[in-house]
Symmetry: D3
Subunit: 194 residues, 6 copies
């Protein structure tokens, strides 16, 4: 039994290039703690910077999918990849973004049985296919999303977020990056939706 | 979006044979609510009775595996079967039995990355094999458990609990039985173990 | 090469609680021998009793699926789980119930190529999904059964029988329970149907 | 429900080239009936001739594996490919060659639970790997067979028989070739081995 | 690192029966080298003869599928079986037959993304199902091919070519038969199609 | 049959932010053409920039794995993900980096049968596990790499390159990004190694 953050070297913020240290400090201020994934990737500052840029380009991009929809994709596909860090950390963010204390666990265990709108279900069906069988994607998959009301741009969002967290999931599983204890309980006391 | 408890008919306790109604009332008294699985199986009282008997024979049996170990098996194998009800409900029980607010989510997402003792890891490795590839079980699997300190009787426990919840998982997924909202937050405020 | 009945302790009828001993004696009288599964589970009388109760609740229940249909489900799903005991033992019962000496082998090897009515094919398609991918069951699966003429109650039967024998298959494979020699040839001399 | 022999055209012996008609007549004389596979492949005489030549080169070859071992490979790998014709037809031949009325069903459902010598188990383990994951074969697989006493020549036999029946299994499943009713009961009344 | 042609004994043409030696010499004359697969199978002359006969019956048969279509099936299904020899050797032949220097690599990596006509795509979809899941073939698969314009005879061709190369793929992977260096570059300088 | 570069909007260099346009122009100058992947991702400049940064951080990083080893990882894992663009484009780069005209096709079809050193084989075994089953990575996987001579830093490289191209593979398959025709023949006329 171990509580190591990672199987690879862990670097403190004080040893990071200033731009990264500042950026992570800002995140830490908001959430109240430094998410372990940053400390675990910090021994590779260039990769970490690109990782954060890619993350923000997808997850902070104005317009398109809602923030809650994006987190829902992260949780569903990270669960398919058995990625403990991403399911726990983004599960917390999903609860908060969706203002729904139940949705993260539902989506993580079996999205088909979650409280989803048809739009959300179509979104996750596609995301899971990108995560697990992207090679089999065919025009019919895109038509199904168009029928569910998604624009071309939003379809790209779904696939690209899935692809990016597929990268993240593999890094986490390779390095056994441990989710911060704080994530587990975040957003659990929100009122339950009718 | 629906909050139905099951795709099949739901029967209230008042319409159940007395022995079952009493038994479930006792459970409800302890937990503060009637777990939905009983209401969802109540339209088949004979099956429900056998289900409860089998459950208790395995989960209440004196000696052998600890209560926490048994729940850990349920959570890990139910997660492998994507069973929302069992992961959420038994995740709650596992947190309480193990006095550990993090362990259920860890085990549900990826037991290989959970805070486990070597004994627990050996136990779950076997349980997952029974759940997913029981036909491939060979003497080496039993030797590995013996080396990890399990008795023959405890090996049977691991496999039988896995098999029983494999039944439960399939019923739940067939009927889309919905976990009670209460389960999600139970045991989440326990102190975190060092 | 071994002819042990089980990897776990085997208990004779004389050491069983009377209710179980009597019940099994009645079965033995009908079939002419004591099916090994009872002897292999007898070291756990409470589990065995619940197992027999559950079995009878599903397989002896009046109305609904025919006896032959129920056995067909058992054979097809047990074959998918590579369960030697269940395929051999219930294959024998299926031949007798269906008065068809060929059907058990056909269904065990590849139900898609068996002599089935469209109703039977729809039934087995669903049963196999419950056995192997219950988490993916969606409303369309139930609609397909409704179109094939199955009532809600019969759909539950199909799924519940599959789930129960999924339990049985896992116990058998865990314990390597050996089918009685007698089962192999039972019902093989029935006249072949046109 | 149909009793067609094949989804493709079926040609009678009288319309076959003489060499093939004679060859099949000899087989029919021995077994008492014309195995359907010949009638189902007869619309392609050149393929049928090569098929029979390849079959005989592997299955009638003097020396090396025993006849019973060869049939055991056929049954085990055809079962893995869910090939009804081959499991039923070669199951019959296996019972006769092995003088064992139980072995075919045992091997077809789960070779790991069959009454096998360690040599036979090693043989089937390799055969199944060739059938299902030949691309993953590594030197260690061949060493394991050498340790179990197989010569290089016999290793080729195991793999080549598996490969040939992999062809056969696919043709049968493509064309839904129906096993003759006679095969099901052949060899079932042999005395059971101790 | 080794450049052995096979893990099994390799026999030179001079030690082959005359009919085989002559036949292979003719092939070698056309291609400019002796394809290794013949040398690797030559220690089993009867099997090699049947192999060549079966090959020619399918691949040289007049009428039906074009030569390029047949090679396309070989490349796509051999890629699905991870067969280095067949993908490299028949990739070369496909480039030449199709007068297209790109098509072999496209089909080998992902036929869904290759420059295919709808007829070719339907053909490969079926071929892949025969290669990987022949047991699940259903009437709908044949109807889809009929709608795409294939005759019954051509459907047999697709399936039989797939089945035959499934045999070949397994032999190659079992024996680690090495493709001749010459195959890699054959047909790569053809003009690219618009 | 289409020769579209992508299912999503394609943006020319002239419409890209200067930094990206310059960066891609430099690449185009070296290779003689603009790789399609840049044009296909250009409608999302922020994502493209992060993508290129991440790529360079991993693939241009001084020290650690050789350039040829890195490309070998890309080809092997992209083949496992059936990514036509990455196999074709990085296959070309691998041939050039490794000065070996055969290695890319060998690795793409079946790395187990490629001309690899034991170090390269250990590297690809791990890369494939990260690509396909990262959740199952255990300490033993890292020990195997250490025994094969890899440093902790190089292990991270293997996993991170795999993870990054897993992202790339999914984007490509989602968007059906077409490899430039030029890639197919690059490096094919290099002398063959002994």
């Amino acid at each position: 039994m171990t509580k190591d953050i990672s199987r690879f070297p862990v670097v403190g913020l004080e040893n990071l290039p200033t731009d990264l240290a500042d950026r992570i400090a800002t995140i830490a201020e908001k959430s109240g703690f430094v998410p372990n994934v940053f400390l675990a990737m910090a021994h590779r500052p260039d990769e970490l910077r690109a990782f954060m840029d890619y993350h923000d380009a997808l997850m902070e991009k104005p317009g398109g999918l809602t923030k809650a929809e994006r987190e829902m994709i992260v949780v569903a596909t990270s669960a398919a990849n058995d990625c403990q860090y991403c399911v726990v950390a983004h599960g917390a963010i999903l609860r908060i973004r969706a203002k729904n204390p139940l949705i993260a666990d539902q989506v993580a265990v079996n999205w088909r049985k979650a409280d989803l709108t048809p739009r959300e279900a179509a979104m996750l069906r596609y995301a899971l296919k990108v995560a697990l069988r992207a090679q089999e994607i065919e025009p019919a998959d895109h038509s199904a999303l168009a029928e569910a009301g998604f624009t071309q741009d939003e379809i790209w969002d779904i696939g690209a977020i899935t692809a990016f967290f597929g990268l993240s999931n593999r890094i986490v599983n390779m390095a056994t990056i441990r989710p911060n204890d704080e994530f587990y309980s975040l957003g659990r006391n929100l009122p339950i939706k009718d």
